[in-house]
């Protein structure tokens, strides 16, 4: 195991996946907002809603294409850079990825062309159905990807097969209905909806401040605020559910998120602020809220949350059991499965900890020859670096709560104050455009960095998962990705800004004409116009 390769592979994966996730949340949310707008158009037949649909769809398209393009990297990268991972868990992990293609991505990608090219070729209702299919496809994509990711956090429905040297699926049902995956799915798509709501709101607010496209902007804010409020609530509630699941399945991650070094008497306190010190295993300047953590994490007054030091002791035990499993594994593989029932029974008893024995492979080739010192080292490796997790989690949560406040405010103004948004609020809406992206990236960082040192929690260490590549390979692809992605990012932002500045350019006359008549009707002047006999 070459640690340089491991770090470079991790760097590349982190970079490409975080870049991919710049585009995904907006796709998830904007597809639905556009579909909602088009539905209003079909129901009311008012041209302004068609114009809104087409305008936001244009921005959706610019964003969507980069989401698709950078998603291909993700699908390839498991095989390219994480070949032992792919071999070891492909039997389970590959299935949701393939189903994503079959069930969701195919639909989304096939209909997105028609969504842009089909305006004159389809009836309004059919076109609306197409737009909804794109939105549903995008969201189903997220479902299967999060089932795959949820399995990495909580590997249920699978068992190790010593003859094929890999995990194999025992229950598809358990993999799909993994509670971690389900909570993560709703949490993640809701975050995407909030992102799109903030985006639509910010761009519209900018138009209002500039005194442009007033009708499009205020209606867009109304849609975004209603949609955004529901989503912001859902993000926080399901985020709490995710945290609750983590209490059971990923105790080390939870302890790291809370910088909880030692088990506290239940109910544990929540650390609001502090500076975690990994070396000394303590959190300096900590500000605690009594009981809060125990209540959130266990939903009880008596449930205990284990601290990092206690979990490390547990890891040491598991490493020792893993070594027994490893020894039996070699015997079983040597005899192609033809071993005594005692060996089989002993293997079955310890196989759940086999992954912990692999942690030793950083220090020795054969885990059975590890010294006590190396076992302790490996047990310490099960603690991720605490401070980045501690802080990214806190910033994400704070942003999450503030989205509820923002959305509630705009929802109130648009429903009870006749959409007369104050200028300061419009300015604020423009400035907060980047924040949902920050929250989303930090959320993913917490989930994935917090899972270290594992790719699949407790099953396969990250260091063992990589491909047998050389530093040269990785430097070439890293440089390639950085160059390509930077150029694409600049181009994408340039186009986004260009089309936002340009504003709605479709159906302009039709909409203005309708607008004129609409205003006349409202001001009562229409009464002087002779209506054709009905």
């Amino acid at each position: 195991m070459d640690i340089g390769i491991v770090d470079l592979s991790r760097l590349q994966f982190a970079m490409t996946v975080m870049y991919h996730f710049l585009f995904v949340p907006l796709t998830l949310g904007l597809s639905i907002i556009v579909a909602i707008m088009e539905t209003v158009y079909v129901m009311t037949n008012r041209p302004i809603w068609r114009q809104m649909t087409k305008f936001w769809a244009t921005l959706f398209g610019i964003n969507f294409v980069l989401g698709v393009a950078t998603g291909i990297t993700m699908e390839f990268q498991f095989g390219m850079n994480w070949s032992y991972y792919s071999h070891y868990v492909g039997d389970i992990f590959g299935a949701p990825l393939a189903i994503e293609g079959l069930m969701a991505f195919f639909m989304e990608a096939t209909f997105v062309g028609l969504m842009f090219f089909g305006w004159d070729k389809l009836s309004p209702v059919k076109h609306m159905v197409v737009t909804w299919l794109v939105a549903i496809g995008s969201n189903f994509s997220a479902l299967w990807i999060l089932i795959a990711n949820g399995w990495m956090q909580n590997p249920v429905g699978a068992a190790f097969n010593p003859l094929t040297m890999r995990m194999e699926m025992t229950s598809f049902f358990d993999v799909v209905f993994n509670p971690v995956a389900q909570a993560k799915f709703v949490h993640t798509v809701s975050a995407g909806y909030v992102t799109a709501a903030v985006f639509v709101m910010g761009v519209s607010a900018w138009y209002m401040l500039k005194g442009r496209h007033f009708e499009l902007a205020r209606r867009s804010i109304a849609v975004a605020a209603a949609f955004g409020l529901a989503s912001a609530l859902s993000v926080v509630i399901l985020g709490d559910e995710s945290g609750y699941e983590t209490t059971h399945n990923q105790k080390m991650k939870l302890a790291a998120m809370e910088a909880m070094w030692d088990t506290e008497p239940a109910p544990a306190s929540f650390t609001l602020f502090g500076i975690p010190d990994q070396e000394a295993r303590e959190t300096k300047y900590a500000v605690h809220i009594p009981w809060a953590m125990g209540l959130i994490g266990t939903r009880s007054l008596t449930g205990q949350i284990e601290g990092i030091n206690q979990l490390v002791e547990g890891s040491e035990e598991r490493i020792k059991k893993g070594i027994i499993a490893y020894d039996d594994l070699l015997k079983i593989r040597e005899a192609k499965g033809d071993v005594s029932p005692e060996v089989k029974a002993q293997f079955e008893e310890n196989v759940g900890d086999l992954g912990y024995a692999y942690l030793l492979m950083r220090y020795v080739d054969d885990p059975r020859t590890a010294t006590q010192e190396q076992i302790e080292q490996a047990a310490n490796d099960t603690v991720p670096t605490v401070w980045p997790i501690f802080w990214s989690f806190r910033i994400m949560v704070a942003l999450g709560f503030s989205f509820i406040a923002v959305m509630a405010y705009f929802f109130f103004i648009s429903n009870w104050r006749g959409m007369r948004y104050p200028r300061w609020a419009l300015h604020a809406a423009v400035w907060i455009i980047p924040t949902p992206w920050i929250a989303a990236e930090l959320g993913w960082f917490t989930a994935e960095f917090g899972r270290q040192p594992w790719t699949v929690d407790g099953v396969l260490p990250t260091a063992l998962s990589v491909s047998h590549l050389s530093v040269g390979d990785l430097l070439i692809t890293l440089a390639g990705f950085v160059a390509l992605y930077t150029v694409l990012f600049i181009i994408e932002m340039g186009l986004m800004i260009k089309f936002i500045k340009k504003g709605p350019y479709q159906d302009v006359e039709l909409t203005q004409d309708w607008q004129q008549r609409h205003e006349d009707r409202l001001s009562g002047r229409s009464s002087s116009v002779t209506m054709p006999a009905e």
């Binding site: 294409v65 095989g79 390219m80 990825l97 293609g101 997105v112 062309g113 089909g118 186009l495």
Partner: protein, 386 residues
Amino acid sequence: MILSELISLDVLRVIWWLLLGVLLIGFALTDGFDLGVGALLPFVGKTDTERRVAINTVGPVWEGNQVWFILGGGAIFAAWPPLYAVSFSGFYLAMFAILAALILRPVAFKYRSKRDGHAWRNGWDWALFVGGAVPALIFGVAVGNVLQGVPFQLNDMLMPLYPGNFFIKFISLLNPFALLAGVVSISMLMMHGAAWLTLKTEGPVQLRARAIGSVAGIVAFVTYILAGVWLAFGIKGYAITSVVPDNGPSNPLFSTVEHGGSWLSAYSDRPWIAIAPILGLLGIALATLGLRAGREGSTLLLSKLGIFGVISSVGLTMFPFILPSSIQPDASLTVWDASSSQQTLFVMLVVTLIFMPLILAYTAWVYKVLWGKVTVEEIESDSHSY
């Protein structure tokens, strides 16, 4: 689950081998013409409007077409994890080149006509050309290497290893036989792209597509025969020498493999497979004639037939091998020892049987809605055109 026992493992493996073929052929038939149009772009379109006509013939459908490729990757991962693990990391830099091309291509489609300006549009045309030509070439080169065997090993933990310097390994992928296979691939897809353009365009774009496409067809025909002869006399085949473990666990090291003899022995064991190369040659030849004569619909169908024949001929010749190893033949991946578990293969089969007909149905519907020629007037009136 007892349900998955309904179909025995060896049958599931053969079904998934066939489905892998379906996906690869589905990719070549649909995304193939997109890649071909990309590779033809600088030659069929001399003016900006002409290029836009060519681009807009694939504009509404390339996204769906590309999913065949994504799905192919996903299906290999789910049904053949060792194949996915060994091939994607073994062809690392080549895969990166394909990846870069496939990232540039969608972006080029979408962004090209969003700004005016000569440099902007020329730059994206270049990206479309590279994004079409490079994958088309590399897919062939990869097949050429697979037929010769790929230099990988598996250790006791079944971890794929690739000894040697990374750069030399990359360069050695570009050996003469593999390059010949690359020429077969790119010329075949250019012919296919030309057949598509013949159907979807008119005027000078169609005339140029027909002229270049028929040359590409002739090249594909000749190089495919050359590659076949080379394979018969110059390339050693692989054979399983131990008991065929058709229902055994997916562990390649449990069987022994010999690197020797000829791949073409498959044709004496199973003479019926000769139909694949015959269909390949027939399809290419008739599509070439169709391009010369200017027949529209039938040419595209014949071109599809040719591609179907060529790709199936490779699979059928190699069966049961899917990825032989040149340096540790025993590690070679075959249909019998490189699949997923029975449970996974069964579940994935059920899912595929549900969704594949749906996919085919809605894809057909979308093509029907978009039926007809792409014209200059249409592009200039539609604000969403590429």
